[in-house]
Symmetry: C2
């Protein structure tokens, strides 16, 4: 059997810690090994990651604030990177990893398709990655899977595609508290409008998914329209963390459409709000043949983001080196699973 | 803009001719060009492919029975290969293409995952492909997409996978006549059992899909169970080509399951019969999170096989050289589509 893939976790927020938990579990397969953990938070540095996961048994992996030292001393094959949604705040972290000879899989939303928003950073990352023979990849559930890879894949059996519409409905009430706060659940619609003016409100990565799908299909747009509206609560909703009153914002309705010659070619429609009764991920392809793909019940985001990240680890090992997107990697698939052979078989037909 | 990808069509049966039709249409995008067509059938050799498609306007591409000459003279980047379902009958054709420096995308079902059934041929094809710097890839809708790539992709957002169940229900009554005959629509159940004894009855490629998914997930089985039963007609059905009487075979129910330690880890369940009321493609992942993915109405096979084949053309260009399967290529997506900008926009939200 091959040696386990050596992985350093860079960033120990909620997603990073969840990634650590998944990696530690997968170590039992012998296919992967956590060799280090990086976070600048003084409350985390110096502590065993197991402690941060509220576990009694130490893992032996102590968090360090010194990324350079961790990379140098543990020589990871891959860095799982989860520090920020925004590329300009931390692209030097990615450079550091690449220069240490490590591939990078990152949940940074802007990295899912960085070429449009950050052409210069993209060029630099591509150059550094190629020079060091590594892949830098942005992935996650959204962007990185639900509204882009799944949409592209849905067109894979079509000879013609006239337009594509992707709809994701997320019941934010079942997600972690920061996400519920982030989508504005429970705030007045006036406050919603004020937050919009900050420019950092709404789902991050919708434009990246749009451009990723367009690139994959070889499409260009002459006009892109993006709207962000409150999903208004039609009833009072109470989650584990907050309350939403009827008429207030229950979350977001974020939509982006790419047009050419006035025709909507590609639409991504995202609703994330507490109290959503019909969570789902859907891709409708007006093509030959037509495709009506639905993930019923939706793809549960908190888990799936970590899954998309960790599942990309074995895929980046085989390059080709450079800044890549999920459309350049092999089809995503679960990695280092442990089929629970003592559990019951799936339902018979 | 890049030069068009030069493609030779090798094999002009129903799928091959449909491929030619799609390629000729896509030429308008400037991304692909049909440069030759090969078939040994004396009724086809010497005739313009447009004539075989019952078109008045000649295409300029005349069918030749001399594969070597066509490859040498037209120097294709990629050969679209559609001559047989079985590898041992024609792997020398693939070698010929590779030695001419052409990548190959083939609808040969056994090529979708050839390593198990044909280890020696696989080793030879891999060697020849690597030596000549080309990719040899088997693809199609099934195997190659509906029951393997889609299943793998469905697990891509899961941290754990305990088992996977794939169900494809095809209304054979809407498919071409050879397929209706092939699944035994209208024959008596006794004749069905007799045909089973020939060993070439049933869907070709189910085992290939099973092993492809298992390989992608890193799973091995200690036992594989395969069953082929008639789908019994519960009513009289009349298609454009044949009649099925109640109680006779309406088609096939072909199922394969991979077990470990007595547990069914992966099941592919295929029903192809005339009169199916609920065609669909479904993937159920018993994982974390669980995934319930359905292509409602199913993926229409005759078109989709050609689509999967043609859509793989740009993907094989970027290697890596060798015998590959669809799990090694980037996620499938439509290629050289012509968004019909004068047509209506998709339905509003």
């Amino acid at each position: 059997m091959a040696d386990p893939i050596r992985v350093v976790q860079y960033g120990l927020g909620p997603i990073g810690l969840a990634s650590v938990a998944v990696l530690l579990k997968k170590q039992a397969t012998g296919q992967v090994q956590l060799t280090g953990a990086i976070d600048i938070d003084p409350d985390k540095a110096g502590r065993d990651v197991a402690e941060l996961l509220h576990r009694d048994e130490p893992s032996g992996i102590v968090v360090s604030a010194d990324a350079e030292q961790v990379l140098r001393e543990t020589k990871p094959d891959v860095v799982a990177h989860t520090t920020s949604s925004f590329l300009d705040r931390m692209h030097d972290q990615l450079v550091l990893c690449a220069e240490a000879g490590a591939h990078v899989v990152s949940s940074t939303e802007e990295l899912a398709y960085p070429y449009d928003r950050h052409p210069e950073i993209s060029a630099e990352l591509d150059r550094v990655a190629q020079t060091n023979g590594v892949v830098i990849l942005g992935t996650g559930v959204n962007p990185g899977y639900a509204m882009d890879v799944l949409a592209l894949t849905a067109t894979g059996a079509c000879t013609d595609v006239r337009s594509v519409r992707v709809e994701r409905i997320v019941d934010a009430g079942k997600r972690r508290e920061p996400l519920q706060r982030k989508v504005g659940a429970g705030i007045h619609v006036d406050e919603f409008e004020e937050r919009k003016l900050t420019g950092t409100f709404g789902h991050i990565g919708l434009r990246e998914s749009l451009l990723l799908v367009a690139d994959g299909l070889g499409w260009t747009f002459d006009h892109i329209e993006e709207t962000l509206d409150p999903a208004i609560a039609l009833e009072n909703v109470k989650t584990a963390f907050l309350e939403v009153k009827v008429g207030d914002a229950a979350g977001i309705h974020h939509k982006i459409t790419g047009y050419r010659d006035g025709v909507a070619l590609l639409t991504l429609d995202l609703k994330m709000y507490v109290g959503a009764h019909n969570p789902q991920d859907a891709v409708y392809v007006d093509g030959t043949p037509p495709i009506d793909l639905v993930v019923q019940g939706g793809i549960f985001g908190d888990t799936a983001t970590v899954a998309a990240l960790v599942n990309a680890i074995p895929l980046v090992l085989h390059g080709p080196p450079g800044l890549r997107t999920v459309k350049d990697m092999p089809p995503p698939r679960a990695f280092a699973t442990l089929p629970a052979v003592t559990e019951a078989a799936p339902p018979a037909s």
